[in-house]
Symmetry: C2
Subunit: 570 residues, 2 copies
């Protein structure tokens, strides 16, 4: 048992075990409403959400590098599952559930592949503004998708606007009792979230217990709504939709490959779910790790999440990931070690074996109310406000991604996000900052002539380009140098200060090689200074490196001295 | 007339006009085989290729910034047109032709939009290796798509592998005479390309004329094949496919919006065609411009190409772009000014009015032979070899894009290319080079302690991060600084040398703000030195800027001096 415990837990004692057992019971029970609700969001029967929170949790506890991350059904992956499967099968049908397992298998496969290729850097593939825009957009898509359950009407639509449009027409058909149940659930959940804990504290309850009791509200809502629906004929009389028959017992060992023929329809979705799930998991895990002075290994996280998804696929689940809401709940329950995660499988097994018949009379509107209240924390305006003040391009990237998710859905929205995020990167780099340098009198320092009072030498143009040279920006450098070389005061030497050039990619190398030859034709020599070690090592064996050999200087000072010496010798 | 001539042509004379007229006649005639062939590649009737080389050429001559770029049907845009429309209509049908016009309209619309947004930087959105991989992959896809015409069989397939597989089974059904016609055409084209010019030169012909005569080979092939097919019953007897009825006369003013309802199926394709067409056009235009010391304005190119595509849509054409093969043909024909382009519309009108009936008996295999020989120049192994030697990651990006185009087709292939190109960018930046700095004894210079023999101060760690700080790499910096701050020899001050930091994006700003606070808790101060002007301007008003105010130094030298002063005062 000790082998897979983190080092600082080698002194694990019996007392620790009892504490973890209690924590895992509390945590598992607290997470039941989320598991049920997100399965519904994904268009799946509610027990699938419970199955997805069993074996995957155990697998992650063995393989993951975070001791606190809670893995299981999460909002964004559930939404993306629903989007991926829409049109391929009827939500709630056996074929749909089977396809969800195939999706989990493919998602797990991609994660394992990324892990084998050591692509842990993908965790930082999206900027925070883009991720924030994506998550906020998804929150609204999720909320709108639940409105029909809250109102008790049957509508649909290809995107958020169409759904709202259709909902507006269906509004008169709203079922009054369903609306009342929804409103009551939302009210109770809101009170539980916002005032219950403070109230209990003021009544003298220990703050940690008060917080835990407040977090029990969703369970109370589910229990209350179920009790109401099962104690009288009201629900049936007024057409309040109920969850219905839920199979009792543990998930069987399922074989998702019965539907593997539909891989071609699902692989792209699976890849996107893998990417987004991974980014979100690592982001949550790293936030928790920073607080606890622990370390996350993104490459091992890929493998752990991949194995968790494969486990989910074989035990009747659907795509899983680590989520902020789940992790904060399990953290509040006192789960501080992987042991708590591992134990929760047993607790969940007891729940699945005994409690599932109770869900038959659970009103769907109660689950929708839980979803709507849970996604409140996903809406994030602060990042937009900050970005707008500090960096307009980041704010626009956020806005674009947000609108992309609303207009095109979560799947294409994330593609928009990646494109915008990287597009901003290319756009910024495509106009590199360049500064003409001069010597600070009496020193060996060289500074921008526009910002400092410095000396220049006639015939020598010292230019510093403040960016690595690569495909997106080398054209701008080319243009600037050609403009200088054909200007009336054209220099005989252009000295390129490379102190900010960390890399020259092959597109830039080719362009520089052509440029050096063209400049030479015009009678202008190209010199380099302050070329960094790694850049020199690469440049030396190339034809350009060979040509420049005698014209690369350790410092701008040396280059200026060489130029002056050359002038005097004439 | 002079208004739209480039400045250096203000002295345009009658003699110049006659020279341009001759050039435009030669050029237009030389381009006829390509125009016919690429229309067929796009699945369109051959005259559409001629229409697409009329009004768009005139529009580009007025609006474009290149005096030599030839705009019209090109290989890649034709392939992408075929891919976009596959499944939406039957190739050759009236609906298919209509959809091609809608596609041209949307492509033009996107280009005009990009131009209005001044997104000229998109011209450098792809690295040369990725573009090379995309073009080489497209060349193979095009060649494979023509094999069925060359063999006279009817096969199809969703991708290159499937097509080859199906072709292998259909091989026994090959029509012998068609195969002979194909082989003969390819042989003649090959001789014309590789040995005719030298042979003529050796016979004493002026090299420029010899080159022009060699370039006439495709016309000779078309004329010869047509003559053969129309002079006897052989073609019909042996089932050699002919082009068939071609309408005579000028293209009418068409109204592509009859099919505008299919915009939702076409917009993404149109955007990709716009992007790829633009990148290729600017790349060709810039190569030509560099030779002639002219300048290309990418933003105006967007508008010019956009208007050309809109013109194509309204005159029975399909998506057009500037192409290397077209431009080298028109350049060989002596077309040096826009006037030649403008005049070619008239020449093409004469051709369309008089020669189209001749195409009825043109064997399809001859056009396929022209396509296959034309795409030879698109295959480019040199870029791969160079990249493999200089920069392994660039070579892998090329290979990935190449395989992506083969496996998924040109459309998804270009998406793979963009993703890989930018993925490599993020991956490289995600592990920034960092160097611990020390003072070169007796100077104010600071260098990497691993590469130079320098002095450091105990308690002060000077770290230079060789990259702008942004979402992809700030986690690596965070990790390094936390490792230093928790190491046994932990410094009291970490000095971050920002000489290579050209920008700090909002993700990095947020992370640095958190990091500074965490370091302060550990008793480690964060200092900065050599922060560039634009970075300082942004940083100053932020909370981090406020906190660091007294700890930002003009140079590393100043920071070292301040640290020593602080130590002595204790």
């Amino acid at each position: 048992m000790k082998r897979w415990l983190p080092q600082r837990m080698q002194g694990y004692q019996r007392d620790d075990f009892y504490r973890d057992l209690i924590a895992s019971i509390v945590m598992t029970v607290l997470l039941v409403p989320q598991n049920l609700a997100y399965a519904m969001l994904a268009g799946l029967p509610p027990q699938v959400g419970l199955y997805a929170a069993m074996l995957p949790v155990l697998v992650y506890a063995f393989l993951g590098t975070s001791s606190t991350l809670s893995v299981g059904p999460v909002a964004v992956a559930s939404l993306m599952t629903a989007t991926s499967l829409a049109g391929l099968a009827l939500p709630g049908s056996a074929h749909y559930t089977e396809l969800a397992m195939v999706l989990a298998l493919l998602t797990g496969g991609f994660l394992l592949l990324f892990g084998a290729l050591r692509l842990g850097f993908l965790a930082h593939f999206l900027s925070r503004p883009v991720l924030s825009g994506f998550v906020s957009g998804s929150a609204i898509v999720i909320a709108v998708s639940q409105l029909k359950h809250l109102l008790g009407v049957e509508t649909t639509g290809p995107n958020v606007l169409a759904q709202l449009y259709n909902l507006a027409f269906a509004l008169p058909q709203s079922k009054v009792v369903t609306v009342l149940v929804s409103a009551l659930c939302i009210l109770v959940l809101w009170l539980g979230k916002n005032t219950l804990a403070q109230g209990l504290c003021r009544m003298g309850v220990n703050p940690r217990h008060a917080d835990l009791m407040a977090r029990l509200t969703p369970i109370a809502v589910i229990a209350g709504a179920t009790l109401w629906a099962s104690q009288g004929p009201w629900a049936a009389q007024h057409g309040v939709a109920l969850v219905g028959q839920v199979p009792q017992g543990l998930p069987g060992w399922t074989q998702p490959w019965q539907s593997l023929s539909q891989v071609s329809d699902l692989w792209l979705s699976a890849m996107l779910i893998a990417l987004v799930g991974f980014i979100q998991s690592v982001s949550v895990a790293q936030t928790m790790a920073l607080r606890r002075h622990e370390k996350i290994n993104p490459n091992r996280e890929l493998t752990a999440l991949g194995a968790a998804n494969v486990a989910s696929a074989f035990t009747g689940g659907y795509p899983v990931a680590g989520g902020l809401a789940r992790t904060s709940i399990s953290s509040a329950a006192g789960a501080q070690t992987r042991m708590a995660g591992a134990l929760s499988v047993g607790v969940m097994a007891v729940i699945v074996l005994t409690l599932t018949p109770l869900f038959m009379k659970l009103p769907v509107a109660a689950l929708s109310a839980i979803i709507v209240m849970a996604i409140g924390s996903m809406l994030d305006w602060r990042t937009f406000a900050n970005a707008w003040r500090y960096d307009r391009a980041d704010a626009l990237a956020l806005a674009f991604t947000f609108v992309g998710v609303l207009a095109l859905g979560a799947q294409q929205g994330i593609v928009v996000g990646v494109t915008v995020s990287l597009g901003v990167l290319v756009w910024r780099s495509s106009r590199p900052h360049m500064a003409v340098l001069g010597r600070v009198p009496g020193t060996e320092h060289f500074r921008n002539v526009d910002r400092h009072s410095v000396q220049t030498l006639p015939g020598l143009l010292a230019l510093r380009v403040d960016e690595s040279l690569f495909f997106a920006n080398v054209a701008a450098l080319e243009e600037r140098l050609m403009a200088e070389a054909t200007s009336p005061q054209r220099p005989t030497v252009i000295l390129l200060n490379c102190s900010a050039v960390n890399r020259i990619d092959s597109t830039a190398l080719e362009a520089l090689t052509e440029l050096e030859a063209t400049l030479a034709q015009q009678g202008v020599q190209l010199w380099l200074s302050e070329v960094k070690g790694p850049v020199t090592d690469r440049l030396n064996p190339t034809p350009l490196g060979q040509r420049l050999q005698q014209r690369v200087f350790l410092s701008t000072h040396h280059a200026f001295a060489a130029f002056e010496a050359g002038q005097h010798s004439h």
